[in-house]
């Protein structure tokens, strides 16, 4: 198999010893079928055991190996080395504080995801005896795309609005809120609206669309947010036109 030598420029930062992040370059001989994560694993196993980064499945399912490679947020297990020039710059996801090297602290996202109640909400408690909560393939197709999110946070790294204002609820959390709002088994739309239809919710989005461009699972969070804007606008006017209508 063809081999190429790449200069891997990796951002290093240890908050306990470093005053600022800096780059460290490793020369890595890569196989033709390697992804960037393979090259990083090679560094960890053979050149520098102190390098820290997250990964798990190596097949674009777990969403833990998101990094900024040559300026673009990607899953490093989903980015072939052969598609990059000789120099490959690897940085942690943008817009999150660095915990160490390529590992970022994602507490802000977890808090926001929790705030949109990303689970099925029923008006009444469903006892186990009531059986399965059935759904037709058509009803599934309505939200399936938005359920494919793997929380990899590439969208938060790409989003210029989140970069400016970190109170923005952000693409993945809003796409997941939309996923549950569209679910035929769910009755929690008004419970989510408190966060979703607020200023830091959908209205902070200016539809740049970078989130959808970088999404490795084609979730299209930008579309989810625009659809939520339409639904929330209808809700807003309906409150005045038909105040008796239950939200």
């Amino acid at each position: 198999m063809r081999e190429t030598i790449h200069q891997l420029e990796v951002l290093r930062y240890d908050p306990e010893t470093d005053t600022a992040p800096h780059f460290q370059t490793y020369a890595v001989t890569c196989q033709e079928d390697w992804v960037v994560l393979d090259a990083i694993n090679y560094v960890k196993e053979n050149l520098d055991r102190t390098l820290s980064y997250r990964w798990s499945c190596h097949m674009a399912v777990c969403g833990s190996c998101g990094m900024v490679v040559n300026g673009e947020p990607v899953l490093s297990c989903h980015a072939f080395v052969r598609d990059y020039p000789e120099k490959i710059r690897v940085e942690p996801l943008a817009n999150f504080p660095i915990e160490r090297d390529l590992v970022v602290a994602i507490d802000d996202f977890v808090e926001k995801l929790t705030s949109v109640k990303p689970y099925i909400i029923s008006a009444e408690e469903r006892p186990v005896e009531s059986g399965e909560n059935l759904q037709s393939p058509e009803q599934l197709a309505v939200f399936k795309q938005y359920a494919d999110c793997i929380n990899c946070l590439l969208c938060y790294s790409a989003c210029p609005q989140y970069a400016l204002n970190d109170s923005f609820i952000g693409p993945a959390a809003l796409a997941l809120a939309h996923r549950y709002n569209l679910d035929s088994r769910d009755e929690g739309r008004s419970a989510r609206a408190d966060v979703v239809a607020s200023n830091p919710g959908i209205w902070e989005c200016s539809f740049v669309g970078a989130c959808s461009e970088v999404c490795p699972k084609d979730v299209d969070p930008a579309a989810a947010i625009q659809q939520t804007k339409i639904a929330s606008t209808v809700d807003y006017f309906m409150r005045f036109l038909m105040p008796w209508r239950k939200q």
């Binding site: 210029p160 609206a193 408190d194 966060v195 239809a197 607020s198 200023n199 830091p200 919710g201 209205w203 200016s206 740049v208 804007k229 339409i230 929330s232 606008t233 807003y236 006017f237």
Partner: protein, 115 residues
């Protein structure tokens, strides 16, 4: 968190965007290329015929309904674009963008009512 009042501006923005995307090209085509290509006879756009058509209240209402939301769409889009380009003086940008749209709205009203 409180429900946002953004739907007020966004509804006009969305309506204006839809009009700008679908209606405006058709209007521009029928007033320019359509005539050049010979699809629309130039007599159809003769001044007397056009002014008579535009004097009907329904035509005035239609013109208002097309022009004004597009004005506000452009104003809102430019405000957001300024923000995306790194101009964070939102108060001033709002004043300029929405101010021009408001003046345009008044000008449209005056022009249509004066026909």
């Amino acid at each position: 968190m409180a429900t946002s009042n953004k739907p007020l501006v966004w509804a006009v923005f969305a309506a204006g965007g839809t009009l700008a995307a679908f209606v405006l090209p058709a209007i521009i085509f029928s007033l320019t290329l359509g005539v050049v290509l010979g699809w629309i006879p130039p007599e159809a756009l003769a001044y007397e015929r056009a002014i008579a058509g535009m004097q009907s209240p329904l035509a005035k209402l239609a013109a208002f309904a097309v022009i004004v939301p597009i004005l506000w769409h452009a104003a809102h889009r430019l405000r957001i674009t300024a923000h995306d380009l790194g101009v964070y003086a939102d108060g001033l940008v709002m004043l300029i963008c929405y101010g021009i749209a408001a003046l345009g709205t008044i000008a449209t009203l005056v022009a249509l009512l004066g026909l």
